[in-house]
Each structure stands twice: as structure tokens, then as C-alpha cells.
């Protein structure tokens, strides 16, 4: 079992979880309009600190939990960092922005020597990080998990969302008929979980279930049928009579809120109260899943369903039970739902009740069905060397034509996505299985060290002061998990899609069995996909089957 024993929120609204909750219940919002915060960027509404540094905020959020130094430094404690872009604001000055190095500095500042795990799954990262913690504790890999999430805004991020026409220049209005788009926000949030029953008396609650599903539809547009969110809700729902509310993503874009309302209705949850917190904090990206889970948990301890600030009039085709005002409840469970670029969706169900300890179970055992290695100058498929005439980026195009050839979107992908796509095509074509049949029993879990640095550089070149034309087609690939979405979309995989930033392939090997903790998952397409520039890359991708 897992117990949430401490948490902390730092936002422009307030310092500390209870202070943030007080501010929210008093109807305060940190959102305001910025005219010239970043040069070149058009005016936008956001929730921002006066100054923000990614690593400093993460460290302060962990410190704010006031946990014993011995627990934070323990070899039994793993740090899990949730972020979309970490230190990317510094890219204009330095390329030393590796997320895993940031995570390591954060863990080491508390004397923790274990190699941390970075979850970088676009906007669902925070909930995925909590699911990772749950899996790690319940399989006994570690006894405690420190999950910290943060993103800070910069020209890089704001220009990208503007290029997607996703931002509202007014205050956001989740689920409202007049909603025009989202507002971004900065925050850092930390949750500490333990499996140690001796600490259960300090428990604020527990994660009862978690699920991650891909829409298998599009890398930036939400599914019209709410496919992934619907599947997540069904997986974690449990007894819906016990649910106090569903805390939705509620970004206030036309398509997100519409999609969620469809997923909620398909799952039969239309009568359960729904709320969204973006009107107080904006969309805090890698922090969102943590911040919104923590606030929901503490609100439920006070018997409150927080009101949806900015909402006035139902504005989705499917009605949901939403209210601008706070409501009271005596129920003890809630669902936190998120969705993000790459077609990914995640949900957890959390209880405030003290629940009895359950024994840990061993990690799943699996076999390898097929494997492929691709480097800049050759490939080896199931032990057999594949010859090619091209080298570097052209090699990927040559393999694409040889093994797929019917998917022109390949040429729109960045090198990381092309690498993962080609590796998966080679791997799957070597198997005797029917392809392109919708399935939710296969996960796609990839990892690397440098995230999507090659494409970050390419996007950065489109936002230079003397050449400012932010490219949406490049921006979308500045999220490393897009490659997992591309594979899910191509193959109609509705299962988990996840991306981790790790120190090396060995570390992926240590955690990959955790993907089988999602009960439907019977096979995992997984591997290391590293790409430092468009001609320098290496992939080792395998298909694993649960035994």
C-alpha cells in the first residue's frame, strides 16, 4: 500500500498547501495579464512568480514538506521529478539543460544518492509520476518516494502555446460556453509517499488506482470520443457512489473540455461533481498533476468540492455536474484526470481514508519477443544485421521506405520520433501478428538521456529576436513523449504511453517491469531512443511479453 505522508505547494498565490487552499476557497486567483514579460511574445494571461528557477523551486517544494532529513537521504527513498521542459529557458545560453542532471542535483541537495527518475509525459507528467511512485512502492523497489513537479515559463514555452493558438488573452473559463483557451502557470508541488506501515498514522490518503491510456488519434488534437480519458476513468472508477468529485484537466480550450465532458458521460460519471482548478493557477504543466491532486486531497479533508473559477454557463455538448461555487461533501474519494500532447491521458483515484496495509507483490516477469538496434550507420534486427546504403538521418528515411513507406507523416517528425517510429516498424514487421487492430493490452514506454534536445534547438531557432516565427510543427516535438504517441497512433494502441528521462539504459531495465502493473498490459514495446543531432542517434527497442 502507499500512504501520502506529506506535501507542499509553492505557487504565485501562496506558499504551502493550506495557504494555497485558503486562497482558493476565498476565490483568489494568481492569473493576470502580462503585456511585455517576454520580448516578442504577444500579451498573455498567466500565473507567474516574480522570478523563477526550476531547480530552486523543486528544492524549496521538497523542503516545504518538512520531512526528516534521514528519510529524504535514505537509500530506500527514490526521487521522481515531473516536468515537461525543466531548464529549457536556459537553452539560449547553454546546452547543459539535461533533465536527469537537474533531477540528480535536486536529489543530491537532500543527500540522496539514488539515481532519480524523470517523468516527461507532457501535461499528464504529474499524475504519471504519482502512478510511477505507486508502482515502485507496491512492488517493493523502494520504501519511500519523493515526487516533485515543476515547470517555469519562458519565451520558449509561451511562444509555443501561442503558435498553437491555444492561449486565451483573457482569464481562462474552464467548461464555460465562452471559453477561448488556456492560461499557463508556474508552480512547484511535492508529494511524499511511503509504503512503511509504521508511518501510516501520518497518512493524508492513498492512491487506490492509476491508469494511463493513449487516444491513438492525433499528437496534438484531443480524441473526439474522449477515448483515452474514457478508458482511464473506467479503469480507476471503482465504486462511483464513493466519489466526491472528478477533478478534471479543464484547460478551458474548446477541444479539451469538450473531450472530457464526452469521456465523463461515456464513463457514466455525469452526476458526480466535477471541478477544474485552472482558473486559480493556470495550467502549471509538469506541476499540474501534483498541485491539483494535493489541493483536491486537502479540500476533501475539509469536506469541500472546490468551485470552478471562471465557469459561468455550461459550454460542452455533454452536460457535467459542475459549479463555480464550492460545495460540501462527506464522501472520501476523488479522481484526478489529465490529458496531454502525444494523445496521452492519465487518471488516479485517491482516498482520504486510512486503509489497511496490503502486502507488496513482486515485479512482473517477462520475455523478449523481438529486438532491434539502430545506429547512425546500421541496424540489427533480431540478431541479423540489416545492410543499408545511407548513413545518419538518411538511413532512417531509407528504413522507413523499406519497412513502412505508407505513412507520409514520417517526414513531419523530428529525428527522435523518426528513430522510435522506424525502430517500432522494423520490430513489429518481424513478428507474426496482425497489425493495426485496436488494442489496449500493449504499452509503449521509451526513454533516453537527452530528452528532445535536437528538436529543442530547432524550435529555439524559430524564436530568435531577429527571426521570430514560432513553429507549431517543431514545438509539438519539444515534448519527448510525442514519439510514444506516434507509435500508438500508427498502431492503434490504446494502452499506456510513457516517456522517462533516465541516466542510462540500465536504469530503464530496472523499472520497465513496472509497466505491467497496469492490469490490462500484456506486452510492452520499450527501449532506449537517444538522439543528439539529426545524424547521430542510437536505438535499442524491444517487445516484451508478460509471463
Amino acid at each position: 500500500m502507499n500512504y501520502i505522508i506529506a506535501d507542499h505547494i509553492i505557487s504565485p498565490l501562496a506558499q504551502g498547501t493550506e495557504n494555497n487552499l485558503d486562497a482558493v476557497l476565498a476565490g483568489q486567483s494568481a492569473l493576470r495579464r502580462y503585456e511585455d514579460r517576454f520580448p516578442m511574445v504577444e500579451p498573455f494571461c498567466a500565473s507567474m512568480f516574480v522570478e523563477a528557477d526550476f531547480e530552486t523551486l523543486c528544492i524549496e517544494a521538497v523542503k516545504g514538506t518538512t520531512q526528516e532529513a534521514s528519510l529524504l537521504a535514505s537509500p530506500q527513498t527514490l526521487f521522481i521529478v515531473s516536468t515537461t521542459k525543466g531548464n529549457v529557458a536556459r537553452l539560449a545560453q547553454t546546452e547543459d539543460i539535461a533533465l536527469i542532471d537537474s533531477a540528480r542535483r535536486i536529489a543530491r541537495s537532500f543527500g540522496n544518492e539514488n539515481m532519480p527518475v524523470v517523468v516527461s509525459n507532457a501535461c499528464i507528467s504529474g499524475v504519471c509520476a504519482l502512478i510511477a511512485a505507486q508502482r515502485i512502492l507496491e512492488t517493493g523497489m523502494y520504501k519511500h518516494a519523493v515526487v516533485v513537479g515543476c515547470d517555469v515559463l519562458s519565451t520558449f514555452i509561451v511562444s509555443g502555446f501561442q503558435s498553437f493558438k491555444a492561449l486565451s488573452s483573457d482569464l481562462c473559463a474552464p467548461y464555460d460556453a465562452a471559453r477561448k483557451g488556456l492560461n499557463l502557470g508556474e508552480a512547484a508541488a511535492c508529494v511524499i509517499l511511503t509504503s512503511d506501515a509504521h508511518l501510516a498514522h501520518r497518512s493524508m490518503g492513498s492512491i487506490l488506482a492509476g491508469a494511463i491510456h493513449n487516444d491513438a488519434n492525433h499528437i496534438s488534437g484531443p480524441s473526439r470520443t474522449g477515448e483515452g480519458s474514457y478508458r482511464c476513468l473506467c479503469d480507476v472508477m471503482g465504486d462511483k457512489e464513493a466519489l466526491a468529485f472528478v477533478n478534471v484537466h479543464g484547460t478551458a480550450t474548446l477541444y479539451n473540455d469538450e473531450m472530457e465532458s464526452i469521456a465523463i458521460n461515456r464513463a457514466g460519471l455525469q452526476d458526480v461533481p466535477v471541478n477544474a482548478l485552472k482558473g486559480y493557477f493556470g495550467h502549471t504543466l509538469g506541476a499540474a498533476g501534483l498541485l491539483e491532486t494535493i489541493l483536491s486531497l486537502h479540500a476533501l479533508h475539509r469536506g469541500v468540492v472546490i468551485g470552478t473559477k471562471g465557469f459561468l454557463q455550461q459550454g460542452t455538448t455533454q452536460a457535467v455536474n459542475i459549479d463555480a461555487k464550492a460545495r460540501t461533501t462527506d464522501k472520501k474519494e476523488f479522481i484526478k484526470l489529465l490529458s496531454g500532447f502525444g494523445g496521452c491521458n492519465a487518471a488516479i483515484r485517491v482516498t482520504t481514508k486510512q486503509i489497511p496495509d496490503t502486502p507488496q507483490h513482486p515485479k512482473a516477469v517477462y520475455e523478449t519477443l523481438a529486438d532491434v538496434v539502430i545506429t547512425s550507420n546500421h541496424a540489427v534486427l533480431n540478431g541479423k544485421t540489416i545492410s543499408a546504403e545511407s548513413r545518419g538521418g538518411a538511413l532512417l528515411a531509407e528504413f522507413y521506405r523499406a519497412y513502412a513507406g505508407d505513412y507520409p507523416k514520417f517526414f513531419k517528425m523530428d529525428t527522435l520520433a523518426r528513430l522510435g517510429f522506424v525502430a517500432s516498424e522494423m520490430l513489429l514487421s518481424s513478428l507474426n501478428e496482425e497489425r493495426f487492430v485496436p488494442r489496449s493490452d500493449r504499452a509503449v514506454v521509451l526513454a533516453n538521456r537527452s530528452s528532445c534536445l535536437q528538436n529543442d534547438r530547432a524550435y529555439q531557432r524559430t524564436i530568435m529576436p531577429d527571426n521570430y516565427y514560432p513553429s507549431p510543427a517543431l514545438f509539438v516535438y519539444t515534448l519527448p513523449n510525442i514519439v510514444t504517441g506516434e507509435i500508438a497512433i500508427r498502431n492503434k494502441y490504446y494502452g499506456e504511453s510513457s516517456f522517462y528521462v533516465l541516466d542510462d539504459e540500465h536504469q530503464l531495465e530496472q523499472i520497465i517491469a513496472l509497466a505491467f502493473e497496469q492490469s490490462q498490459t500484456q506486452s510492452v514495446l520499450t527501449g532506449w531512443v537517444e538522439c543528439t543531432d539529426e545524424n547521430t542517434f542510437e536505438a535499442h527497442v524491444r517487445l516484451l511479453k508478460k509471463l
Partner: protein, 83 residues
């Protein structure tokens, strides 16, 4: 406005590998089945108009009207270009 120049710019901006000028008809719908373009391509056409012609479209609805075909795009550019 030279339609072929515009088609070339579209092919380059949207990475339309294996598509030639002859594959894009002047009055055929740009979006829909033919070229397999999606919502990100539409946003990338906003960037093309801004970068090449100094035209800033305000919203997606406006884009839908302008991006109906190469002909409608070319006509819009003729009327509104600032460079």
C-alpha cells in the same frame, strides 16, 4: 501571385515529401483527403503567411476561409501582403 511559388512554399513548410507541384490543384481543397493535412499543418500555414508575406491571421476560423485552396490563399495574399 505565382501559384507555383506558393505551392513550393507549402511543400517546404509542411515537409510534404513525395508531393510535387502537379499534385496540388489550384482549386482543390487543401484540407481533407488529398494531401493528408491536419490541424498542425493549418497552424504552420499561419506561420508561412506571417513569415513570407507579413500577414498575421487572427484566429483559426479566419484560417479555415483563407486555406480553402491554393487559389483562395493566393487571392488573400495579393490583397493583404505587407511584404
Amino acid at each position: 501571385m505565382d501559384n507555383n511559388l506558393l505551392k513550393q512554399q507549402i511543400i517546404e513548410a509542411l515537409n510534404l515529401e513525395d508531393i510535387t507541384l502537379a499534385d496540388i490543384q489550384d482549386d482543390a481543397p487543401l484540407f481533407g483527403e488529398g494531401l493528408g493535412l491536419d490541424s498542425i499543418d493549418a497552424l504552420e500555414l499561419f506561420v508561412l503567411l506571417d513569415k513570407q508575406y507579413g500577414i498575421k491571421l487572427q484566429n483559426k476560423e479566419e484560417g479555415k476561409q483563407v486555406f480553402k485552396s491554393v487559389n483562395t490563399m493566393a487571392a488573400y495574399i495579393e490583397q493583404h501582403r505587407t511584404k
